[in-house]
Amino acid sequence: MSTHASTAQPSYLVDTGARKGLMAWLTTTDHKRIGLLYLYSMITFFFVGVGIGFVMRLVQLTSFQKLITAQTYNALFTVHGVIMIFLFVVPGLPAIFGNFFLPILIGAKDVSFPRLNLASWYFFIAGAILAVLSLFTGGGAPDTGWTFYAPFSLKTGTNVSLAVFAAFVLGFSSMLTGINFITTIHRLRAPGMKWFRMPLFCWALYSTAWIQLLATPIVAITLVLVILERFFGIGIFDPAKGGDPLLYQHLFWIYSHPAVYIMILPAMGAITEILPTFTKRPIFGYKAIAFSSMSIAAVGSLVWAHHMFTSGMSATANMVFSLLTMVVAVPSAIKVFNWVSTLYKGSIDFQPPLLFTLTFIFLFCIGGLTGVMQGALALNIHIHDTYFIVGHFHYVMFGGTGMALFAALLYWFPKMWGKMYSKKAIYASWFPMFIGFNMLYFGMMILGMMGMPRRYYVHLPQFHTMHVVATVGSWLLILGLIMFFGTLLYAIFKGEKAGDNPWGGVTLEWTIPSPPPLENFEEIPTVTHGPYHFEQQEAK
């Protein structure tokens, strides 16, 4: 395998078709390029979302309320949620790293439906454009929060219809990607790549794809009903017309709770992929992790109404959903134990991706444990709809999915661009990011315990001190983010050559050149053992 440096195939970054430059990218069906298209667009949206978050924190200092009115603030948190959820964490790791690495990890040349894959990206961009349009047309930016609860979402004069339609279009992107991945995993595994020889990232993508495929249509239909109700008053959700507002909440959460597993499962998969490489030993409990992904996907579909404990559901429903919520916490705990055990008796090579992986585990534990707190009924009644939820959600989605995305980016960066970043600069960015993160979101959880409701333009005086702490934290966090992405951006252009296998990984992506050639493998590999097989390497 040492001859691949002289491979005849050019890198996927070189234009080989009839079109050149931007057009070559916009019409590509190569899964790696599509992965990068997602990466660039999603990071752009991410920073827009961060910017909005920054402004919201300033408003809570109360010194900027002359510039930002209550109506604008309500639009800001709605748009922040819509962008971060539908344009960043939901497509998240599958759209970027799933597209780029799923085929390589299972020894395939591309996904099953390359053109459908490009179409998914266009659906994604179309949804994003519609979302932006909804801010400036009709009655102005939606002000309902990203949950669009009826009947407020039916009555408000703002442009909810278009924003909701944007989410509907984005749903198609998600579903099509799901279909593509399921088919790819079923049909395109290399010879000898049995189910239990797949890298665990693929298992995570597989469970995620099923949720995307099965749950997204429900929210799509729900959102269409909102639009129909706004235009034609069909009376599904509006009690004034005989509808039921709780029906909306059920339908919304039947998708949106599984959606948080769409957001976190691939992140867990990436973490599972990174750990063996830096401990030089197999993952602890391969099958336990694979099955826990599948059971999270299954049980996670049955817990949606724990978002509605105060809505007036029957006590029996509350009891059942609280119980199931506790059950779904178990597979996540299993994963944490297996990850930590993978460090045991390894030979640990401490590198930036491992730092972000361990940061993920720490922050995800806080996110998970505070989630268990909310599952406990008597406690949920107090912290529901407060800043506690906002803090918890950011621990899971940013501390979890976000940090895992950063870890994956650091891990696969040398493979994707063939360049290496400055490790010192990445370590330097970690400190403000970590400290700022905890000031901001732990501060929010304390505020929530004190009784600060979410989505408040102005707060009562007793909450002010913690709001200041959180706002200062947000500045540190943003500083860390800028340092982090600045370092990576610099490395894309000016980074040193990374080599084909800088971390000493043993999964298939490390057996091909960096950056990978257009068709990944000169010859489809034959797989004879599990994914984290380090003996061979040691024998050399």
Binding site: T69, Q71, F362, L377, H384
Partner: protein
């Protein structure tokens, strides 16, 4: 104990669960973090150059599946039983009707008395039946750890028994429009005799808890001109001033006869404010939104007489 301004039995029930889960969580987090750091140091490649190729351990998997499951189920059970207590009001509880509307609260007691803040005698069970006149709101008293959504066309009930005299915030917790964060009120917990004096005291009895409420200006409605009383009771003044100050909506001062641009069916038109315009703006606010203001005003049900009083009052401003 005065943890987080705890002031009702429901708060004690909720906090007990919090301390249980919090204790377990801190123990778990410390355990995991210390273990991670220890392993990273102990098995660093310099100290431990050759990794042991361990694939897993079935016994351990069983242990760390069952132990968390048992702990999580204990959390569920504790949370559930304490919630059962918080949910079921005793038979002798006084039932109070709470009405949420964009963006104010009102309270009605069994004998028909009404108030803008909720009066509660200390140590007595009080049942709250929460309704909404428009969109979904959330009735939240942090010091009581009490929350229940106000859902239109539905009455949700919960109850509390205050353990401490004082004035406690009520906040709305479900986003309900532009003044969501101003949709506040208070629970005023007073001695029982003070409450009874007001409750049984006829129309002229002074509201209880005067000292507690001194800081907050909650005028007695019956002292106001009838039009202003309606505007106050229905929460209009949250967005419209009567003295010319800019708020979320246009001021009502000198509104009558003013020329302004309004959005009708997608076009701006200049109109002069008259009786018909005022009536239509109140009954169907979204039909004609004034230029430069958000389309945020809720529909508020007013009787014909109330509407007349309001229009007469605005004319005189």
């Amino acid at each position: 104990m005065d943890w987080m301004n705890q002031a009702a039995i429901s708060a004690q029930k909720s906090d007990a669960v919090f301390f249980y889960v919090f204790g377990l969580s801190v123990a778990f987090l410390i355990f995991i973090t210390v273990l991670m750091i220890y392993f990273v140091v102990r098995y660093n490649k310099k100290r431990h150059p050759k990794a042991e190729q361990i694939e897993g351990h079935v016994g351990l998997e069983i242990v760390w599946t069952t132990v968390p499951l048992v702990l999580f189920l204990s959390i569920f059970y504790y949370g559930w039983t304490n919630y059962e207590y918080m949910r079921q009001a005793p038979r002798d509880a006084m039932a109070i009707k709470v009405t949420a509307r964009q963006w104010s609260w009102s309270f009605e007691y069994p004998n028909g008395k009404q108030s803008k803040v909720l009066f509660a005698p200390i140590g007595k069970p009080m049942k709250v039946e929460v309704r909404s006149a428009d969109v979904v709101h959330g009735f939240f008293v942090p010091s009581f750890r009490l929350k229940i959504d106000a859902v239109p066309a539905r009455a949700n009930t919960t109850w509390f028994q205050a353990t401490k005299l004082g004035s406690y915030d009520i906040q709305c917790t479900v986003i309900c429009g532009v003044d969501h964060s101003l949709m506040l009120s208070k629970v005023i917990v007073v001695p029982e005799d003070e409450f009874k004096a007001w409750y049984f005291g006829g129309e002229d009895a002074p509201e209880p808890g005067k000292a507690l409420r001194a800081a907050e200006a909650h005028p007695d409605l019956k002292d106001l001109p009838p039009g202003l009383a309606v505007l106050t009771a229905k929460g209009c003044l949250a967005c419209h001033s009567v003295d010319g100050k800019p708020k979320v909506g246009p001021t009502l001062k000198a509104l009558y006869g003013r020329e302004q641009q309004i959005l009708i069916a997608g076009d701006y038109k200049t109109i002069t404010v008259d009786d018909a315009y005022l009536r239509r703006s109140i009954t169907n606010p979204m039909d004609q939104v004034v230029r430069g203001y958000p389309p945020a005003m809720p529909q508020t049900a007013l009787s014909e007489q109330e509407l007349n009083e309001v229009v007469r009052y605005i004319k005189g401003l």
